[in-house]
């Protein structure tokens, strides 16, 4: 074909075609005629092309590949990132691509690896994390750790990290291709351990150790990649959020520790575990445990805890579809290790097996305490010395443990023979899992450092304008001495509290008895105290400092140091003193980095130092308002100083201004880059506390505590954060670990106080009371007054909750007096607030109102925004109790406003919820529902699960009244699930009762009975009287339904009594009403009348329509039984009208049923029957099976005498 041949005049064709195309269609043919002359073939070729072109506008314009394939690739290759140009990709993970890049300026062609995050990752969070981590990661300077060079984000906003580029092969491949012997492998592995140890010493956890992150270079140098990157990329992995994100989280399931799989906090023990898996693999050629995904793995771990899993599963779970791995026969494994197949098991048996198994223990605290210990044991093994892992401590299961595991590594090899090479070694692990106890935090191997407390310095000049110097000196010296982490210093805040507790003033030295007391309270081995003489600014601020170091145990002065300096050079003065003290302790001098760290922890200039020190002093003197002002000045004088920001954030927070607190905390975090790793983490933890990001706060404290397990403060803060996060059970566990920690902390009342708080969050009033009592005893023994006050206050509150109102009074009063004497006004407000619980319980609203009002005044005085809002809510509640709904609404609105100003969404949820209850009582169901839903939304936003559950429970109540039983059921169930998870048993029980009520309405009496019974047994066990009464009442109703009048009577009487004791008049009214029904059923008309009289009287006091109308309905039925049919009809009609006006669906059904029955009895059964038919239909349509059934039954009972 002609066209298939190459046109000889192609260039000419192109030229003419293009020219023709540039002309209007009309001119083209003239143009071509002229241009082509008599070459007709040329002309027709061009015309043909032109006509072809007309129909091909979009032809070839869109590439099928571009969008699908290269879009991202093309944009990256050749691009510049900072000073580097991307050359190509090296690798990729789920959420990041790694590029090879080199310096764009070609100066010295330095090659780097750039990790670029994919779009869609949470880049703000990652960048923030990166900024936080940068300093820590950049500080890792070790030949075996690949350095992080820089990070940032591209123009398109993609975050990236720049790292050293390493040419090497994965450690496992390296070992296999070079056929390294077991010994050589162990040596190489020890090098990995050393790098990990170094990082741990710098407080960096790798979190994602695996062969692909460990390269070996041509010169056999081990290089660890991605240290700490996992934390930057995915800072937190929680059970709630983590499982759905496993695809992109960096954790590698096969190497992840059980705690990572479970989502519990990560410590350095996590790296030890991963190292153990790595060693396992290097030795045996496969992993101890291999599964497809983290999700499966998680199931696996939990499944494994069930005792049904048997050891004989070994060898059956082969994975033949795994094409990525070569078949690893025992021969191949042995070959790659240059050892005979028969010898390999023998080589692995014994020491190596024990070592590996110790490293991969399920419980973090049973693994090696450090990478150093791990590698030391390997080195001992290599040197033929006995290994430590064989110490008798491991034989705690009567020697069985070791024996059962002695074969583990070799088993792995043996299985290979059986299962054709791909068996998952699982049985042994599973055996361990099912025998394992729950992990507890806290390292058993904690190194206990000597501890020092700086007690402060006496101001010899007596001039108040130089008083700040004492605080400044103490603060600086604390920082100075804690640098290098060889000494444990007691936080100055704790020291200040103890000084108040013990009534210590600044003195130059302490007598032995006083020293003993200090030791008991602070757990410090040494104290530093002394005096200073500051001549003040006008004299140039020369300062003379005399201090002594005292041994709190022996009571003697270990050292006395005198130095002179000036206000301007306080820090130099302190470091001179510090150096001399360190000498006395036999400690090394601070390194340059450590000194720099100290400098970062004090303000830049004196203008900032003075208000900062004064501010700290004010915080410790309970004067948050003054503290706020001073700290604001400090921040203004040195905006770069992170600790002032952090302290100011806490002040805002305790004054109840969340938004301001958050802002300051953010500034603190942003400037925290230069702080020591420990301080940095602390600032971070506080930031998360401020933002109520409890999961992350917990993680931060967990890290602090795992690195400084001798620091009680961190353990306490960890527990507190867990309690705040609604993880009271975890808090209790953490506290148990604290108890076991060290002799010094034994009997520190703060541990039991924290326990008491955890118990409160769990709704366990008994445990709360008991632990508070213990804390009070401990505080008393040590003379710790403020702690005693807190303990007494807590005790009082717990007693009140347990209904022991009279007993509660004394501890509350004691707390109040202590707070008042100590000048702790926020403590005072708290005690007044708690004190009000007693009169509330006793129905003395006037007394309660007075206490709340006093607390409100104090809250206003000390400027506590949230404190005011809280007292207001309670005052509103009292107005509700008094039936003054107008005032109540006004107060609630004010409280809501207060919380809103404070930025406290949780408080807002509370105010919303209480307003909703007010509206529900007025029968404004829709309005109430809206408020409850708002409250739920707010609670969900802040992740406060307890509030969410509470909101769900009240939403369920409204839904029942509106006739939406399935909706209500769902809400109750969800609430119950949350409460159960949180371990709040009492509330869980009341949720169960609610569920039971729905079941009863649906006509499922047996299921309702079951729910009620379970609820009651829990409530009885926990000693919650009014909740138990509530459930008894529900049970009575059920008995009444099935004609068991006697039982119903008994239960109702018990409920009446309980409600009366607690002055719950509304509930009492319902209980009397129920009692009346029970008596009526037994034909005890007189008694029924008397009970109804009481019910009616009480209900008239109530402003709650859901009390009044139901009692009215019961009354109508009683009247009918008394043959007062006219009265009965009028009464029932009245109830029906009220219910109908308010659209109270459930009550309407009940009223209609009662009215129908009365009408059937009366002259007009036809009207009655019609009404009952309608009621039945209406009830059935909404699933109210019980009412439908009763309405149906009543239709057959015409005429008089047909009472139920």
């Amino acid at each position: 074909m002609a066209t298939r041949k190459m046109p000889e005049n192609w260039d000419q064709v192109k030229e003419l075609f293009t020219s023709a195309l540039e002309r209007d269609a009309a001119e083209r043919s003239d143009f071509l005629r002229e241009a082509c002359g008599d070459d007709d073939a040329l002309r027709s070729e061009i015309e043909s092309l032109l006509s072809s072109f007309d129909g091909a506008a979009t032809f070839l314009e869109d590439s099928p590949a571009a969008d699908l394939l290269f879009a991202q690739l093309r944009t990256m290759v050749g691009k510049r990132i900072g000073a580097y140009r991307i050359l190509g990709e090296i690798g990729h993970g789920g959420m990041a691509v790694v590029y090879l890049a080199e310096r764009a300026d070609d100066q010295y062609r330095k090659r780097v690896a750039i990790k670029m995050l994919q779009p869609g990752t949470n880049k703000d969070e990652i960048l923030r994390r990166f900024r936080n981590e940068r300093q820590a990661l950049a500080a890792l300077d070790h030949p075996s750790i690949v350095r992080l060079l820089d990070g940032g984000s591209t123009e398109e906003g993609l975050p990236y990290l720049i790292m050293e580029y390493v040419e090497g092969v994965r450690i496992d491949e390296y070992c296999d291709t070079r056929k390294l012997s077991i010994t050589e492998r162990l040596q190489l592995f020890c090098a990995v351990c050393r790098a990990v140890q170094y990082a741990h010493e710098n407080l960096v956890i790798h979190r994602d150790l695996k062969p692909s992150n460990i390269l070996v270079t041509r010169d056999s140098v081990v290089r660890l990649l991605d240290f700490g990157i996992a934390k930057v990329l995915n800072p937190q992995w929680s059970p709630e959020t983590g499982l759905t994100r496993t695809d992109w989280r960096p954790m590698t399931p096969e190497y992840a520790s059980p705690e990572q799989v479970r989502g519990t906090p990560v410590t350095k023990a996590t790296d030890i575990y991963s190292l153990g898996v790595l060693l396992y693999e290097l030795l045996t050629g496969h992993r101890p445990y291999r599964v497809g995904s983290a999700v499966e793995r998680r199931d696996y771990v939990e499944e494994a805890e069930k005792p049904s899993v048997a050891v004989n599963e070994i060898g059956e779970s082969a994975a033949p579809d795994d094409a990525t791995r070569t078949l690893m026969t025992p021969e191949l494994v042995a070959q790659a290790r240059a050892i005979r197949r028969e010898e390999l098991p023998r080589r692995l048996r014994g020491d190596l097996d024990t070592i590996v198994m110790k490293a991969i223990r399920l419980e973090p605290e049973h693994r090696y305490a450090s990478a150093a210990e791990f590698s030391q044991d390997i080195e001992r093994h290599l040197a033929g010395l006995p290994i430590r892992a064989r110490k008798p401590t491991l034989l705690y299961r009567g020697g069985k443990f070791v024996r059962r595991h002695a074969e583990s590594l070799t088993t792995a090899i043996l299985i290979l023979a059986v299962a054709a090479g791909l068996a998952v070694w699982a049985g042994r692990w599973l055996w361990k899992l099912k025998n394992a106890t729950e992990p507890t935090p806290g390292a058993v191997h904690a190194r206990i450092r000597p501890s020092v407390a700086i007690l402060g310095f006496k101001n010899l000049s007596g001039r108040p304008d130089t008083a700040w110097v004492s605080t400044a000196l103490s603060e600086m010296l604390t920082t100075e001495l804690s640098a290098g982490e060889q000494l444990r210093t007691v936080p100055e805040e704790t020291v200040a509290r103890t000084k108040v507790d013990l009534g210590l003033s600044d003195v130059e030295s302490l007598a032995p008895e006083a020293l003993g007391q200090v030791r008991k309270n602070l757990g410090s081995d040494y104290i530093v105290l002394g005096s200073y003489l500051d001549m003040g600014k006008e004299k140039g601020g020369p300062i003379r400092l005399d201090l002594r170091l005292q041994d709190t145990d022996k009571g003697e002065t270990v050292a006395a140091v005198s130095e002179t300096g000036s206000e301007k050079t306080l820090l130099d003065l302190v470091s001179q003193v510090g150096t001399r003290l360190r000498e006395r302790f036999g400690l090394e001098k601070l390194s340059r980095t450590e000194s720099a760290g100290v400098r970062a922890e004090v303000p830049l200039n004196q203008e900032a130092m003075r208000p900062y020190a004064q501010g700290l002093a004010m915080v410790r003197a309970f004067d948050d308002l003054s503290a706020r002002e001073l700290l604001s000045n400090a921040v203004a004088a040195d905006p770069e100083f992170p600790l002032a920001h952090s302290e100011l954030a806490r002040t805002w927070s305790s004054l109840g201004y969340d938004a301001d607190a958050r802002q300051e905390a953010e500034k603190a975090l942003d400037g925290a880059g230069d702080l020591s790793r420990e301080k940095h983490l602390l600032v971070e933890a506080r930031f998360y506390e401020t933002t109520r990001d409890w999961a992350k706060a917990i993680e931060a404290y967990q890290t602090l505590f795992s690195f400084f397990p001798d620091n009680l403060e961190y353990g306490l803060q960890l527990a507190n954060a867990e309690t705040a996060a609604g993880r009271g059970k975890d808090a209790l566990k953490s506290l148990t670990a604290l108890d076991a920690l060290r002799v010094h902390t034994k009997g520190d009342p703060r541990i039991n106080l924290a326990r008491s708080d955890a118990a409160a969050s769990l709704g366990d009033s008994r445990l709360r009371r008991d632990t508070a009592e213990l804390a009070a005893q401990e505080a008393e023994e040590r003379g710790a007054k403020l702690l005693l006050a807190r303990a007494r206050d807590t005790e009082c509150r717990a007693l009140a909750d347990l209904g022991e109102n009279e007993k509660a009074k004394a501890p509350c009063e004691e707390a109040r007096q202590i707070y008042e004497a100590a000048g702790d006004r926020s403590g005072l407000a708290q005690s007044l607030h708690d004190m009000a619980e007693v009169p509330i319980n006793q129905g003395d609203f006037a007394a309660a109102e007075k206490l709340y009002s006093q607390a409100l005044i104090i809250a206003r005085d000390i400027g506590s925004q949230k404190g005011q809002a809280r007292e207001l809510i309670n005052l509103g509640l009292i107005s509700v109790k008094k039936g003054d709904f107008t005032t109540a609404r006004k107060i609630y609105d004010e409280s809501l406003q207060g919380y809103q100003n404070a930025g406290d969404k949780n408080g807002m949820a509370a105010a919303m919820g209480d307003t909703g209850i007010l509206l529900r009582m007025q029968g404004k169901l829709q309005d109430a529902l809206n408020h409850f839903q708002k409250a739920l939304e707010l609670s969900n936003q802040v992740g406060h699960r307890a509030s969410s559950a509470q909101a769900m429970s009240v939403i369920g109540d409204v839904l029942v009244e509106e006739g939406d039983l399935p909706g209500a059921y769902k809400m109750y169930q969800e609430a119950a699930t949350i409460e159960q998870e949180m371990g709040r048993k009492v509330i869980y029980a009341s949720n169960l009762t609610q569920v039971g009520r729905v079941l009863r309405q649906q006509g499922k009496a047996d299921e309702a009975q079951q729910a009620y019974r379970e609820s009651l047994s829990l409530e009885e066990k926990l000693g919650d009287k009014s909740d138990a009464a509530e459930t008894r009442l529900a049970l009575a109703e059920l008995d009444c339904d099935s004609g068991k009048g006697t039982e119903a009577e008994q239960l109702s009487r018990a409920a009446v009594e309980a409600f009366r004791a607690d002055a719950y008049t509304d509930e009492e009214s319902l209980a009397e009403s129920m009692l009346s029904r029970a008596l009526l059923q037994q034909g005890k008309l007189t008694e029924a009348r008397s009970a109804m009289g009481e019910a009616f009287r009480l209900s008239q006091k109530s402003r709650d329509v859901l009390i009044r109308i139901p009692v009215t309905i019961d009354h109508a039925q009683l009247l009918a039984a008394e043959d007062n049919l006219g009265g009965a009809e009028a009464t029932a009609q009245d109830a029906l009208t009220q219910a109908r006006n308010l659209s109270l669906f459930r009550v309407q059904l009940e009223a209609s049923l009662a009215l129908g029955k009365v009408q059937m009895q009366k002259r007009n059964p036809a009207t009655g029957r019609k009404r009952l038919e309608d009621t039945e239909e209406s009830a059935r349509s909404k699933g109210f099976g019980l009412i439908a059934q009763e309405a149906s039954a009543a239709q057959g009972l015409a005429g008089s005498g047909s009472r139920r």
């Binding site: 066209t3 298939r4 190459m6 046109p7 192609w10 064709v13 192109k14 075609f17 293009t18 195309l21 043909s48 092309l49 032109l50 072809s52 072109f53 129909g55 091909a56 979009t58 032809f59 070839l60 314009e61 869109d62 590439s63 099928p64 590949a65 571009a66 969008d67 699908l68 394939l69 290269f70 879009a71 991202q72 690739l73 093309r74 290759v77 050749g78 050359l87 190509g88 990709e89 090296i90 690798g91 990729h92 691509v97 695809d247 497809g292 995904s293 094409a323 990525t324």
Partner: protein, 188 residues
């Protein structure tokens, strides 16, 4: 006359690279496809991206392939894509090769091509013919259509001026459109 020689040399080098890479890519794609299929959680588009990405990362990881520059890389990528699509289209009717994601992805690409009036096989053949008398334009189509490059980027890859390419793009389109239509008529 330096330029054409230079280009030829480069093309020859690219040919080898593409041959190596293609051999590499197919088993890779299949393996990935089956693995990805087991994880049904991911979105289809994500799977595609991840799949292709991984394939390319593998390409890049090959030590023997050293990209001289971005242009060369893009040029090879376009050639590679052309080859994958053509091979797939050829084998598509004869045997249902490939599975899962790979198939979905390639069919999607071919679907786009068809929608735009280009049968991949016919286009490939036409391009080969075009290359006999105008290799530059043939290359341009390859870069634009299979590689998804813009005129500007193509100009950089080919080392010629943009205006020349732009001027010649239309006539090439017209010529190819006619070739494909004639192919259809002949088939019909």
């Amino acid at each position: 006359m330096d330029a054409p020689n230079h280009r030829d040399e480069r093309d020859a080098g690219n040919e080898r690279a593409v041959a190596d890479l293609t051999a590499l890519l197919y088993p890779e794609l299949r393996r990935l496809a089956s693995r990805h299929l087991r994880r049904e959680r991911r979105e289809h588009t994500l799977q595609t991206t991840a799949l292709v990405h991984e394939a390319y990362l593998r390409l890049n990881d090959q030590r023997e392939v050293h990209w001289k520059n971005r242009e060369q890389f893009l040029g090879v990528a376009a050639q590679l894509m052309r080859r994958i699509l053509v091979d797939y289209s050829r084998g598509h009717d004869a045997q249902k090769r490939g599975g899962g994601i790979e198939k979905v992805f390639l069919e999607e690409a071919i679907g786009v091509a068809k929608e735009k009036g280009a049968d991949v096989i016919a286009l490939d053949e036409a391009l080969t013919r075009l290359a006999e008398f105008d290799p530059q334009q043939s290359h341009l189509v390859e870069l634009r259509f299979f590689g998804g490059l813009s005129i500007e980027e193509s100009a950089e890859v080919l080392g010629v001026s943009r205006t020349t390419l732009k001027r010649n793009w239309n006539v090439t389109k017209a010529w190819l459109a006619r070739e494909l239509r004639r192919g259809d008529e002949k088939d019909a």
